[in-house]
């Protein structure tokens, strides 16, 4: 042993040991120095940068999800659902978190047996080329049962999540679509103006009608869900939740049964019908025909359906109630008459001779009745809708007086209904013509204005409002679709000098329905209540003729059929305006529609079908 482990001499051993120990001390010093260095690094990470890393660790583990709010439901005045939310399911995938994309694809093909395998294959081929880190939603809607079955196997597939959300549904389909409007996917233009926080997680927004006007109330505000996840995105547990504030449920003034009935009355005809409760301005029916199904728009409408609707010659997208601008025709006669007797341009008893025409400045203006009405006073002029009476009267009044007498009823200005994009209509005056056409007023234009032709244009809504104000004997109401006590308050009062004048005009309108010579006497017969009305037949001067098919032009040149009315006369509860495009005379088409609607509303009886 001694030979193997040879020790040096004592002296050398001592020197060697000393030098060796020096190197040991040196080495240990080096160890301590580097340990101190490591400890310093830990101080840096754990003490000085703690906040940052703590935040990063929390960020790692906690992902914040936005809980989009549930959109408020929309009901009609009788609490019948007009816009509801129904649960739908969607599959979301994030590629970078997925382990075996192909395995999941194969399982999907088995699971979603109602979807062609090729369609799934195609989608996955595209999906594999898209961003690794973004979440994509499969474009297939899946049933509740498929969703449940998928949830069972979902644990095997990190990166795949099942997204349940609520989809807007309009159970009454196309009914009242122009009032209700619809929701659709938020587009880039809307995105720019949106409150990003409030719309986080939300994909849809009100696009038109009530859905758009009351977007703010219907939308609600989102909540926040903190979720603990692991590195693969698997949700482990839910932490704090700040629940979403659901949107407000709102009630409309619409009576959906009446609305449906109103739409049925039109059949295939185009036009607008508005029924208002004259006591408070609540709109009972808001009919614009034809309609379309708003459900098509919720998830984004497909090109085929969209083209079909867009190029439909009947233009279903046009909201005729607020954007259809029609010559009001004879329906303005009660208003003109009222202005005339109020301001003493004529006495109600004064009779005018009507030979069937009216000559002015070498131009002959014809009455609708070629043979003439003979001696005509104000009552007869309204009841029989005598044009000549008004031709003559209007020359005495002048266009500005007609304007001033009609303006308080709301002609020529927006009603400020709670839908965006209302048209103004036209109530001509000398000033108006100079401002818009740059030309002076000609008296011949006054003559045709007096029977609601010429420049006059009105929307069905304006006409209905004016009718309601007339029924109220001057109490101006604010037409609105949302049931809201504030809106029910009368806004102002049309100036009245002599209340008896109102009675005279209204009496004449009652005689239109119930008098022996009334233009709508056929339809007023047998009504269990007293009704006032006025027919109108408007010549089509120009209603976007350029847009119409050449084939259809003939038909498009037929007269519009108009009617305004309210009932019961002594305590009006419903005022109606109907404009049926190219449907002939007011008494033939619009009057029975209005009468049936009023009758339905006041008696809740089934409509009589013998009226043509």
């Amino acid at each position: 042993m001694a030979e193997r482990l040879n020790f040096n001499s004592d002296e050398e051993t001592y020197v060697t040991k000393r030098r060796f120990r020096f190197r040991l001390y040196f080495a240990y010093g080096f160890v301590l120095l580097l340990f101190a260095f490591l400890a310093g690094r830990m101080v840096q990470l754990q003490w000085l940068n703690y906040d940052r890393y703590h935040g990063l660790a929390e960020g790692n583990r906690v992902s914040v999800e936005t809980l989009p709010p549930t959109r408020g439901k929309i009901y009609d005045r009788n609490h019948i659902l007009l816009a509801d939310n129904q649960p739908v399911y969607a599959i979301k995938m994030v590629r970078e978190k997925m382990e075996d994309i192909d395995a999941f694809k194969r399982e999907l093909m088995v699971l979603l047996d109602n979807i062609p395998a090729q369609k799934i294959e195609d989608y996955f081929n595209k999906f594999k080329r898209w961003s690794r880190s973004r979440s994509y939603t499969l474009p297939f809607s899946i049933t509740e049962e498929q969703a449940a079955r998928l949830a069972v196997i979902n644990y095997k597939h990190p990166g795949v999540t099942l997204d349940a959300r609520l989809k807007r549904i309009y159970p009454n389909k196309s009914t009242a679509v122009h009032a209700l409007g619809y929701v659709g996917r938020i587009n880039s233009k809307e995105l720019k103006n949106l409150d990003e926080q409030r719309y986080r997680g939300t994909q849809i927004i009100g696009k038109s009608g009530i859905e758009r006007f009351y977007e703010d109330r219907l939308h609600g505000s989102p909540g926040i869900q903190q979720i603990e996840t692991n590195a693969r995105g698997r949700i482990l547990r839910k932490l704090e939740t700040l629940p979403a504030q659901p949107g407000e449920d709102i009630h409309l003034t619409i009576d959906i049964e009446l609305q449906k009935f109103g739409e049925e009355l039109f059949g295939k005809k185009r036009g607008g019908l508005v029924a208002i409760d004259p006591q408070n301005g609540e709109i009972l029916a808001f009919v614009s025909m034809p309609t379309f199904d708003p459900n098509l728009f919720v998830d984004g409408i497909d090109q085929e359906n969209y083209s079909r609707l867009l190029y439909d010659p009947n233009k279903p997208f046009i909201n005729r109630v607020i954007n259809g601008q029609y010559p009001p025709g004879s329906t303005i006669k009660p208003f003109v008459a009222l202005g005339a007797i109020e301001n003493n341009y004529i006495s109600p008893q004064k009779k005018i001779w009507d030979p069937g025409y009216f000559d002015f400045a070498e131009h002959r203006y014809r009455d609708w009745k070629r043979t003439g009405h003979g001696h005509v006073d104000m009552n007869t002029a309204i009841v029989q809708s005598c044009d000549t009476y008004f031709y003559q009267l209007s020359l005495d009044m002048g266009v500005d007086a007609i304007h001033d007498t009609m303006s308080p009823f709301g002609f020529g200005k927006k009603t400020d209904i709670d839908i965006f994009g209302e048209s103004t209509g036209i109530l001509p005056s000398q000033q108006w013509k100079m401002a818009t056409k740059g030309k002076p007023w000609y008296r011949g234009e006054t003559i045709i204005s007096s029977i609601g032709q010429g420049f006059n244009l009105t929307t069905p809504l304006q006409l209905a409002k004016a009718t309601a104000v007339l029924a109220n004997r001057g109490k101006v109401i604010q037409p609105h679709l949302l049931r809201d006590q504030l809106k029910n308050q009368p806004t102002e009062q049309v100036e009245i000098k002599n209340i008896a004048n109102w009675d005279k005009v209204i009496q004449a309108m009652e005689d239109v329905m119930h008098g022996a010579r009334g233009t709508a006497r056929r339809h007023g017969k047998g009504l269990p209540f007293k009704m006032a009305g006025k027919t109108g037949t408007a010549q089509v001067f120009s209603l976007n003729e350029a847009d119409y098919d050449a084939d259809a032009i003939d038909k498009r040149l037929h007269d519009h059929s108009l009617f305004i009315g309210f009932a019961p006369v002594d305590n009006p509860r419903i005022a109606v305006a109907v404009i049926a495009e190219n449907a002939g005379s007011g008494s033939a088409t619009a009057a029975p529609m209005a009468v049936n609607l009023i009758k339905k509303y006041l008696t809740r009886e089934q409509p009589q079908t013998d009226d043509k």
Binding site: N6, E12, R19, L34, L38, M42, Q46, A57, N60
Partner: protein, 375 residues
């Protein structure tokens, strides 16, 4: 004073304790047991409370402790006698690895002996410093340049066999253990300084010979955020784990980084991150203190060793342990590039633990097989 003056009987008479008679160093054992206990706790936590993993780990610790005990019984003289043979066998196996090695993780590091897979480079971690110490057993101080040259040759040859596996990290660490022997044997300071200067200067050349993945690791180390989902991911998540532990830590089993699977290799290479997340700066300092204690004891044993051979082995093995600790902690805390290296005595894993415990057995043997207790 001559060796023959004192017989073995006298030694045993003066050291009657149970530990002494088992050739165990009590202080070293205490340090090791504290570290191993920590290891069991952290492996349990890092594995997400996996009892199967933890009990497997405890069995390995038991095996490793037994091996330590066995090696503590082997007198240094015997090791000295067998050193050339061990080296020869080690080299043969390294060559065998190159020729027939099993492919594991893209590199040939393993020899497959049926039920046992063996990593010869693990054996060389022990054999190389012993071999170099053997060369300097009879050396004068300072050693001759011929001997230093021979030592360098042995180190370079062994390291180059491991580099080609390829396993740059292990080969550098093994070379380091050999170089420690040269240092403690009295390698002149001017050569040390010159070598450090030379190494720094030749770094660009080394870069040229590196594998692409090794280059990538270095680049990622320099800027981990450049590859947040690739290799930089590990370091970013590890730093988050450490940093979010704060001063007091999140408490035992409180590691969210590991439990939520953000931290890779949380029971092995990145176990320090779990420990520092759960026990915070205080826990880290305690761990470093424990390591410093074990290293101090190892160097003390080296200082007390009676001959060149044993003191060189003791000092080199102890310093190698330190290097492993430093490299692992430096790596997980983002100070050094990522190399696959466990945290000594704490990480889950068999082979490195066995090697370490054998080296502690050798240290204990060195300390307890002394003929003289005088200085």
């Amino acid at each position: 004073m001559k060796l023959e003056d004192t017989g073995p009987e006298q030694v045993y008479r003066r050291n009657k304790g149970l530990l002494e008679s088992l050739h165990i160093d009590g202080w070293l054992l205490l340090g090791l047991l504290l570290l191993l206990a920590t290891s069991i706790a952290v492996v349990y936590s890092a594995s997400g409370g996996d009892e199967a993993v933890t009990s497997r780990h405890m069995i390995r610790i038991g095996i490793a402790l037994t091996l330590m005990l066995i090696f503590a019984q082997i007198p240094p003289n015997l090791i000295y006698l067998f050193t050339p043979w061990l080296f020869f066998i080690g080299i043969l196996m390294l060559v065998a690895v190159i020729l027939v090695g099993d492919i594991g993780k893209g590199a040939q590091r393993w020899l497959d002996f049926g039920p046992v897979k063996f990593q010869p480079s693990e054996l060389m971690k022990l054999v190389l410093p012993i071999t170099v110490a053997w060369l300097f057993a009879h050396s004068q101080y300072p050693p001759s340049y011929q001997r230093l040259g021979m030592g360098a040759l042995v180190i370079g040859f062994t390291a180059s066999l491991i580099v080609v596996q390829p396993d740059l990290g292990t080969s550098l660490l093994i070379a380091m253990s050999g170089l420690f022997v040269l240092f403690f044997a009295g390698l002149p300071w001017k050569i040390i300084v010159a070598a450090i200067v030379g190494a720094v200067a030749s770094a660009p050349i080394a870069w040229h010979f590196m594998h692409a993945y090794q280059k990538q690791r270095v680049l990622t180390f320099l800027n981990p955020e450049s590859d947040p989902l690739g290799s930089g991911y590990h370091i970013i998540q590890s730093k988050i784990a450490i940093g979010s532990g704060g001063i007091e830590g999140k408490g035992f089993l409180g590691s969210t980084q590991a439990h939520l699977e953000f931290l890779p290799e949380s029971t092995t290479d990145f176990i320090f991150s779990v420990l520092s997340e759960e026990f915070g700066l205080l826990g880290v300092v305690l761990l470093l203190a424990l390591y410093a204690f074990v290293i101090a004891r190892g160097l003390y044993i080296a200082a007390q060793a009676q001959d060149n051979f044993t003191r060189l082995i003791a000092a080199s093995l102890t310093m190698t342990l330190f290097v492993y600790i430093f490299v692992n902690i430096g790596m997980v805390s983002g100070l050094l590039p990522v190399v696959g290296l466990p945290l000594p005595l704490v990480s889950y894993g068999g082979s490195s633990l066995v090697t370490l415990m054998i080296s502690f057995g050798i240290l204990m043997s060195i300390h307890t097989h002394k003929r003289l207790l005088t200085d």
